[in-house]
């Protein structure tokens, strides 16, 4: 049962990442592979404040979201000049640069040593304090966050704003002629997505109680991208489904009983193969409403 709770927490965190990235990639058509950077910013701010200064989790979470928003604004400004392949490449470069900062700014992030001893969230009402130390209570918090993000994503995509995002994806230049300053929309959704990713980062840091830069590498961004490509672009439900599938399926593979020397590589192999086959046979993913 604990294992199921664990997987649910991880799925919830990945689902938040998937839903937020889907706003950027699936709805707005900006193929960003920099999402792990914001995930990392959320995680690091939370970790540093919790482990170093004993700040309350929820305050740390808010600060993490704020910093992610600020960085996303800068990065979004840079990225707003590119499209298609160049967007991918530029976002990839920015992810690597931010990863380098996590890795090399030792005085702040402790570099490769990582930050241990991050505490679980604590709810304090008056003199009564309640720590979310059990995995079950943490699952409730994670699901609460995931549901909030889900509702936010649904609200955004069903609003006029969301319609503009899709139109940007389809034909940005034509949309401009109809009076939209598309660059602001792109920036806005990029920042919104980054803030949501920061929530996931804060949850991750607090759940695992330890973070180091390896969790925020380019590889993670590519994983998040696979989540929504598999689940389906421009579909919030699809992003959730993709997250659950990509978290649970590899875990199931642990039970297949392959010889240990190929089991691990087999997982990578299947993952790569899935990407190729999806692109060939179903480029919109399982539940996608948008074909790349």
């Amino acid at each position: 049962m604990e294992y199921v709770i664990h997987l649910s927490i991880v799925s919830g965190i990945v689902a938040i990442l998937g839903m937020s990235l889907n706003l950027i990639v699936g709805y707005t058509g900006l193929l960003s592979v920099a999402h792990a950077a914001f995930y990392g910013i959320g995680a690091y701010v939370t970790a540093i404040l919790l482990a170093g200064f004993g700040v309350n989790f929820f305050l740390a979470l808010l600060l993490g979201m704020a910093l992610a928003a600020a960085v996303a604004l800068l990065i979004g400004l840079v990225l707003s000049r590119f499209d298609d392949d160049y967007y991918v490449l530029a976002s990839l470069g920015l992810n690597i640069i931010i990863y380098s900062v996590f890795l090399n700014w030792n005085t702040l992030t402790r570099g490769p040593l990582g930050i241990p001893g991050i505490s679980r969230p604590e709810l304090g009402i008056g003199g009564y304090r309640f720590g979310l130390t059990s995995n079950f209570s943490f699952l409730v918090l994670t699901l609460l966050c995931a549901v909030l993000v889900y509702l936010a994503a649904r609200f955004i995509t069903r609003s006029s704003f969301g319609r503009v995002l899709m139109a940007i994806r389809e034909d940005e230049q034509a949309l401009q002629v109809f009076g939209y300053r598309t660059v602001y929309y792109k920036l806005a959704i990029f920042v919104i997505g980054a803030v949501m990713a920061a929530v996931a980062g804060a949850l991750f840091a607090s759940y695992i109680t330890f973070i180091d830069p390896t969790s925020f590498m380019l590889r993670e961004s590519i994983f998040m991208l696979s989540v929504i490509i598999l689940g389906g672009l421009a579909n919030t439900n699809g992003a959730v489904a993709g997250a659950v599938i990509l978290v649970v399926l590899p875990e199931l593979l642990r039970f297949v009983g392959l010889p240990s020397n190929i089991a691990a590589q087999m997982r990578l192999l299947l993952y790569g193969l899935a990407l190729v086959l999806l692109m060939i046979y179903r480029p919109q993913g399982l539940f996608g409403k948008y074909r790349l």
Binding site: L31, V78, R81, F82, D84, D85, Y86, V88, L89, A90, L92, G93, L94, I96, I97, S100, V101, L103, N104, I222, L225, I229, I262, Q265, M266, L268, L269, Y271, G272, L273, A274, L275, V276, L278, M279, I280, P283, L292
Partner: protein
């Protein structure tokens, strides 16, 4: 002064390696216009094929290297035939191709790790002791000289070949406009297939030479490739001379850059250059 000379030499060596990757990448990009991320995997295939021929088939250094280059070329050709061509036939967008290529990169690296293990293998032990030459106070080994010469020779031969032959003209025509090229009777699919072979073979050569200079491992593909792509973009996308220029520029900037910045920022420097160029000079130094 010595420091400067040596850092410059280091930069040129790194640049030559990047150039070999960037040349093949730019050649393929020139006709297909998509970012072939599987290009990095092809370089790994080249390195491991050489390792296989040296270690298990007992071949000499030159035949093993030559065969490895061919294997890399054939793998590139096969990827084109089985994945990229069908996708391009149905007008898949660049992003679809890019993600498929990413999947291929993952698959190939996993396969190599399954068959050869994840260890690091230097190939230099098959080539015997290394001669070290001194140039203006800086040091360079024979392998490194060969890398620089190969990069320049491949660039020269490739340019000449594309300029002088009918094949080269067809490649240029496809690069300008694939549909028009098809209309005037060029068998574009066949030509693109050959381009994949040539480009991948060059990357394979890069992989082999990296193996002799430092060593090979299954995961080296992505970092090699990313440097190659940066070089190709900084130089001017799709242009061969641009790719070479960009590669040497990148190599020099990385290695001279850490003169004053600590070495662990090397990757950040490389990608910083990429972002800088993308913003202020997106067509590169020598646009096609």
């Amino acid at each position: 002064m010595d420091l400067f000379v040596q850092l410059t030499i280091n930069g040129v060596i790194a640049g030559a390696i990047y150039a070999l990757i960037a040349l093949g990448f730019a050649l393929i990009f020139g006709v297909t216009k998509f970012f072939n991320l599987a290009h990095g995997a092809v370089a790994v295939v080249g390195g491991y094929a050489a390792f296989f021929f040296l270690e298990h088939a007992g071949l000499g250094v030159l035949p093993a290297a030559a065969l490895a280059v061919c294997v890399a070329g054939m793998v590139g050709f096969a990827l084109h035939k089985t994945v990229f061509l069908p996708l391009r036939r149905r007008q898949a967008t660049n992003l679809v191709l890019l993600i498929a290529a990413l999947g291929l990169l993952t698959v190939i690296q996993a396969l190599i790790a399954m068959f050869f293990g994840s260890q690091f293998h230097p190939l230099s032990q098959f080539a015997g002791a290394q001669e070290v030459y001194r140039i203006a106070g800086g040091a360079i080994t024979l392998v490194q000289l060969i890398i620089i010469i190969s990069a320049l020779a491949v660039f020269g031969l490739l340019t000449l070949f594309l300029k002088k032959t009918k094949f080269g003209k067809a490649v240029k025509a496809i690069g300008d406009d694939e549909e028009v090229a098809q209309i005037v009777g060029i068998n574009t699919h066949a030509i693109i297939g050959y381009v994949f072979f040539i480009g991948s073979a060059i990357a394979g050569l890069g992989g082999v030479l990296v193996g002799f200079d430092t060593g090979i491992e299954p995961t080296m593909g992505l970092s090699l490739l990313l440097k190659g792509i940066i070089a190709a973009i900084v130089g001017g996308v799709g242009s061969l001379s641009g790719a070479v220029l960009g590669a040497f520029l990148l190599g020099l900037a990385e290695n001279l850059g850490i003169w004053h910045i600590s070495g662990e920022w090397k990757d950040a420097i490389a990608f910083g250059i990429l972002i800088f160029f993308l913003i202020w000079r997106p067509r590169g130094i020598l646009p096609r």
